[in-house]
Amino acid sequence: MSEPLTVALVGNPNAGKSALFNALTGARQKIANYPGVTVERKAGRLVLPSGEAATLLDLPGAYSLDATSPDEEVTRKVVLGEFAGEARPQVLVVVVDAANLGHHLVFAQEAIEIGLPVVVALNMMDLAERDGIVLDPAALSQALGLQVVPTVAVRRRGLAELAAAVADARGMVPAPRQHLSLPERRLAARNIARAAILSRSGAHRVRTELDRVLLHPWLGPVILFALLFVMFQAVFAWATPFADGLEALAASLADAVRAGLAPGFVRDFLTEGVIAGVGSVVVFLPQIVILFAFILMMEATGYMARAAFLMDRMMAGVGLSGRSFIPLLSSFACAIPGIMATRSIADPKDRLTTILIAPLMTCSARLPVYAVIIAAVIPATRVAPGIGLQGLVLFALYLAGILGAMAAALVLRRSVTRGAASGFIMELPRYQLPLVKDLLIGLWQRAWVFLRRAGTIIFAVTIALWLLLTFPRAEEGESQLDVSFAGRIATAMHPAFEPIGFNREMTLALVPAMAAREVAVSSLATTYAVDAGDEEATMAALEAEVAQRWSLPTALAFLAWFVFAPQCISTIAVARRETNGWKWPGVMLAYLFALAYIFAGITFWGARALGL
């Protein structure tokens, strides 16, 4: 028996590497982070023809091993065997885009020069054919002196052949190669590509036609904003039936528990604590899935890079570049992947600014809070066909976050992250029809992260809060909320928040919301359920409570607070890891809490002055 085999996929960004990885390994992937750097480490199982399983690593895309970004640095170190804690791969699979050989062979040669056994995956053969390019893989194989396997990752073509080639290449000692300079490599790449291309006719028609519209100086931005508007409306409207279904499920679960258990501590704990608390968060899964579906789709089709192009001018106005748009848009789903996505930004000041403003993008964890408060205090009227007032308010909250982020970037770039104006250089990949399976894998991974949060951190926090709310027990005639530990904590904190219109339950909700923003909702739900001795701790019940107990200025101030407040410990932790210290997360916390307090105050007093 030989030692376990580790194989690494390397290649230019946009070579279809991730699709090939998904096709080779299926959904059984382990996604973690490389220690010290927040670059995703994706590993999966590759089954060789002998039945033996090898570990397949999907390394970050790189244009060169002469690293200019943290991403490329990881790839470089892993393939050179310099990455502590990661075994050096024994075989490299260099993925090249069949339709862009002349360019992708530049990096391929650099990877081959390292001296590891290499197999070349000539990927996206179908797109090359669509572009009218006819290739001769045998000629390419001969020119490079190694095995070349044509593949179409999205159609699962060439996968078995690739696995066989990997098994063959294992243990081979490649002949030493001459080290070439970049211009020499470029020239060689062009010559090899020319020899391997039998004929080419027509060219990139689809891209040219689509880009003519999507990158049109006037039409392009309009389409982008329309798309974003549809996305936010969809999050609110399309999710409703699914959310209702989940809520009904939680309610019937609570009913079943009530029917099956005698009244008492355990029954209260399960219905008021566990089911009400966790249920009120899980209800938002459909909205989060829809949001991620849009973002994954934009990424997989190649539109995201166009969005960056269209936004570059605007981002330049606040000292950033279009590059920052992608992490910021991801932050609408969650600031954690957003902050991690900043690693593709080469300029350190640019990257730091993007990290600092990412929490201002309205993440999906804020959705539950917004949704409940909006549903409770904003009437569900229509302002125009297809545009509801509630959706409009939601859009305004998102907009407030965006404008806040822009203003913050402007100030940060002139103060703490001052530096040379950043550049904007990025590849606009070809348009592609994403494979449904790849989208589903991505969606499943995101949904699973959310559910795991609901099952662990949110679960734990909810239970802790319920216990704090339930003990000590109130005597006859006393309010449970006043007597409980939680109530006393809230009473102590309340003076600080009273000036901005927060009531005591809201103040109380802020504490567990530090663990995860959405807990604010379950915390309110639990608080009111316990306070009212009400077993119906459903979303509808919470909305009714809020509508009845909160004034409009108070509710609006609460929303304004959540636009700015850095209410999530995980985000702070990721920022710390990304910036290697507590300094920048400290700056982030201070400025965001200050903004939250000021704007909640302005909103409260402004709304009061307007007589709302």
Partner: protein, 79 residues
């Protein structure tokens, strides 16, 4: 003539790049994307709204987005 001054869709070759006008690692990034001396390029798109920034430049089978300041550092000759 520099790349930022050439009309849309006109094929050209980069004959010189003033690396000193490019900040930090930008030169390295541009070269890694195939924008070096000798590359044949074509400005495919330019600007949003009335602005002239950024540019989308076609080089080989790729489209690369860059800013005017980068394009201004590249001397080109129409083909």
């Amino acid at each position: 003539m520099t790349l930022d001054g050439i009309g849309r869709g006109i094929p050209a070759r980069i004959i010189a790049i003033d690396w000193h006008r490019l900040a930090g690692e930008e030169g390295k990034r541009l070269r890694a994307l195939g924008l070096g001396e000798g590359a044949e390029v074509r400005v495919a798109h330019r600007g949003v709204f009335a602005g002239r920034d950024p540019l989308a430049v076609q080089v080989g089978a790729m489209t690369v987005a860059l800013r005017r300041v980068h394009a201004a550092a590249m001397t080109v000759e129409p083909l």
